[in-house]
């Protein structure tokens, strides 16, 4: 199923809105931006209302009835109609779902009056008429939506509020459990089991009735009646005791969990000591390094020698080298009285004069002296090797300091994690409480066993009394009724066996789906290996060492459990294998930056169509870059300038 268009008439803050939300395979995201209280959630609930009527509104904090969503301004003016329409594509066909309510003119401030008759139409767009398959009655049409599109309870895995999804993580409520069973495909079998149990009751009553009618043994009948009343009482007692047992087990488990955490705390204290010892050695290394650096400080001026030599070399000599060379050569030739030049030219008076002119007065050159001095020192002190030693010492210092800083961060983190109080005292107290809870469990367990034994005896006695009555009556009818009962029991057991086998097969698959998404969304991937789901659908995060953390302890922030919940929803959504749009209100809630990025990178992969209703503080312009390749439409909900209570939806232009 894909939503192509949403039309709202007199719904909440909207008087008339048509919104194209169609997407393509490549661009499957629609972004709708709005500041708080501008109409974002109103639009979210409009979609749910169109599909599920008042049942779609049940999770809203205060507007659970359709009349509460009627536009007040419209109702103040005149009678009218509130209507939400969704144009959808399903299995290659286009349908329009219209749901609405007529309202009467109502004074501002009063409860809006309606005709009380909700109208639901499912139009086959191609045929241009109501879809005959969906039936005529509103219940039949609703059944079509539930069975063909997305069932109401499963819809919570498709349409969800990012801030509200934490309720999935710790102890899911019954409706969530039912939805999970439905997604897993087990709900049908569980219904079958319950229905068969009801058939058993019918056959049982029928059998009892026949027995009662046909037997003349009033005394035994009276006894049987008494036994049956006792059985009923015992069943109630067992139900209460089982409830109490469950509570006690929960309490015991909570102490066990706290105890485990305190054992962990003690391990953490040991770990902290180990790190402190390591830091002690590192501190010593740092002091040694200080000495090395101090020693090198004395020779630091040597490091300037090479650059100095370079400067000397690059500076022009005065007089220039050529003039110096010519002067010295000429002096030598005159002094040695050369008659011929090296080029065999005779040195006559004219050339002698040229040579004499070449002779200049050469004084000792300070630059050359400096150069020789520098070269001499370089040769003696070898600054290159000193520099290498110094560089090594500095690098070592950076490494040691880095390790100390990292260790200090870990120590601080451990300090934060360790709650106040002495772990030993807390462990003792928790052990006592755990033992008490365990004793209580044993006690209730014994009571349950006793009550069950009594019930078994009563049932046997009931059976004997029934047999006594039956023996007195030679009725084929009664025998058949008895056999029927046994037959239904056998069928019911067969269904239960199928449930057990199927559950065993499917639950690990769901865990894998949820774990895959979870590992994709988290930051510290090395620390966790996945999510486990117990038989009560409570989720736990699996730590790398195999220990299990309840989701509320997985991360320090409220956002962390949102990650687990999102993984759970995404896993179930993936598991449902039903092509449906994902509509998310408040997608990022209170997540930190890295989780936000991970989630934004994941959202477009959740479904073929993803509609995200966000506030500017949740997804800023920078975050939008992550999604922009997938965005098909981007809208903004804004109030009318002259009517601030009414909203309109316009294309959003990002300011660059």
């Amino acid at each position: 199923m894909k939503i192509k268009e949403i039309e709202l008439y007199n719904w909440g803050r909207y008087q008339k809105v048509t919104l194209n939300v169609n997407v393509t395979k490549e661009n499957n995201v629609v972004l709708i931006r709005a500041r708080n209280n501008q109409g974002k959630t109103t639009l979210f609930y409009a979609i749910k209302y169109a599909l599920y009527g008042k049942f779609g509104l049940k999770n809203h904090k205060n507007q659970n009835e359709p009349f509460e969503w009627i536009n007040r301004q419209a109702a103040a003016k005149k009678d009218g109609e509130m209507c939400v329409q969704l144009t959808i594509e399903h299995d290659g066909k286009e349908f329009r779902i219209q749901r609405g309510l007529k309202f009467f003119q109502t004074n501002t401030g009063s409860e809006i009056q309606t005709d009380g008759k909700e109208k639901l139409e499912i139009i086959d767009q191609e045929a241009g008429k109501p879809l005959s398959d969906a039936g005529k009655e509103i219940a039949a049409k609703q059944n079509w939506i539930n069975s063909m599109l997305i069932p109401l309870d499963v819809s919570q895995f498709f349409f969800f509020d990012g801030e509200d999804i934490k309720r999935y993580t710790d102890e899911p409520e019954e409706s969530v459990k039912t939805a999970i069973l439905r997604v897993l495909g087990i709900k049908v079998l569980i219904n079958a089991k319950t229905d068969l149990e009801n058939i058993q009751k019918i056959f049982n009553e029928l059998h009892n009735k026949k027995l009662n009618e046909q037997s003349k043994d009033e005394k035994t009948k009276l006894k049987l009646k008494e036994k049956q009343d006792q059985i009923k009482e015992h069943e109630i007692v067992i139900e209460h005791l089982t409830g109490a047992l469950k509570q006690a087990e929960k309490l015991r488990d909570s102490y066990t969990e706290k105890l485990r955490q305190n054992v962990l705390a003690q391990e953490k204290i040991k770990e902290r000591q180990r790190i402190k010892d390591a830091n002690h050695i590192l501190d010593k290394n740092l002091k040694d390094n200080d000495i090395t650096l101090r020693e090198h400080r004395g020779i630091s001026s040597l490091l300037l020698l090479h650059p100095l030599l370079k400067i000397i070399d690059s500076t022009e000599e005065n007089p220039p080298s050529k003039d110096q060379w010519e002067s010295k050569t000429a002096q030598h030739m005159i002094y040695e009285k050369f008659e011929k030049c090296v080029c065999e030219t005779d040195i006559d008076n004219k050339i002698k004069e040229i040579l004499e002119n070449k002779v200049i007065e050469l004084r000792p050159n300070p630059q050359a002296q400096l150069k020789r001095f520098v070269e001499d020192i370089i040769a003696r002190t070898m600054p290159d090797s000193k520099f290498s030693e110094l560089r090594h010492a500095i690098q070592e210092r950076i490494r040691i300091q880095g390790e100390i800083d990292t260790n200090n961060t870990i120590i601080n983190k451990i300090n934060q994690e360790l709650s106040l109080g002495t772990p030993d005292e807390i462990v003792k107290m928790l052990k006592d409480k755990e033992e008490n809870a365990q004793s209580e469990i044993m006690k209730i367990g014994r009571d349950v066993e006793r009550a069950e034994d009594q019930l078994e005896n009563l049932s046997k006695e009931e059976g004997l009394l029934k047999r006594k009555l039956e023996q007195a009556i030679d009725s084929e009818e009664l025998k058949t009724a008895e056999e029927q009962k046994k037959f239904v029991q056998k069928v019911r057991d067969g269904i239960q066996k199928s449930i057990d086998a199927y559950y065993k097969l499917r639950k690990p698959q769901l865990e894998k789906h949820v774990s895959d998404v979870f590992l994709r969304l988290i930051n510290m991937k090395k620390l966790y290996t996945g999510i486990t789901i117990d038989d009560d659908w409570e989720m736990k995060v699996k730590y790398y060492d195999g220990s299990l953390l309840p989701t509320y302890q997985y991360g320090p922030s409220a956002g962390a459990s949102q990650i687990v919940a999102t993984a759970f929803i995404a896993g179930l959504n993936k598991f449902a294998q039903k092509a449906g749009p994902v509509v998310i209100d408040t997608p990022l809630g209170r997540l930190d930056d890295i989780h936000r990025t991970n989630l934004l990178e994941y959202y477009n992969k959740m479904s073929d169509q993803v509609i995200i209703l966000y506030t500017p503080t949740e997804i800023n312009d920078k975050d939008q870059v992550i999604l922009e390749d997938y965005v098909k439409e981007h809208y903004e909900i804004i109030p009318y300038d002259d009517m601030p209570d009414l909203a309109r939806i316009v294309p959003y232009e990002r300011l660059i």
Binding site: N143, G185, I199, Q484, I495, S498, A576
Partner: protein, 67 residues
């Protein structure tokens, strides 16, 4: 309304399991499968009593009489 897979593609796996259970438990062939097919279309029904008292009861009686 024609019976179709509701929501999941689990039906085939469930049918395999219930076929096996039918044999193991010595139940009449096809009974669990037929119950499952019927339940599939009833899954969204809130009030189940009419279904239990009519269709399901008839189905059970049919297989019981065959037995």
């Amino acid at each position: 309304m024609k019976i179709r897979k509701v929501l999941t593609e689990a039906s085939d796996e469930i049918k395999k399991i219930i076929d096996k259970v039918e044999v193991e438990e010595g139940l009449p062939k096809g009974i669990l499968n037929e119950i499952y097919e019927q339940e599939l279309v009833q899954v969204h029904r809130e009030n189940r009593t009419p279904y239990v008292e009519t269709s399901l009861r008839e189905l059970i009686t049919k297989y019981f009489e065959k037995k």
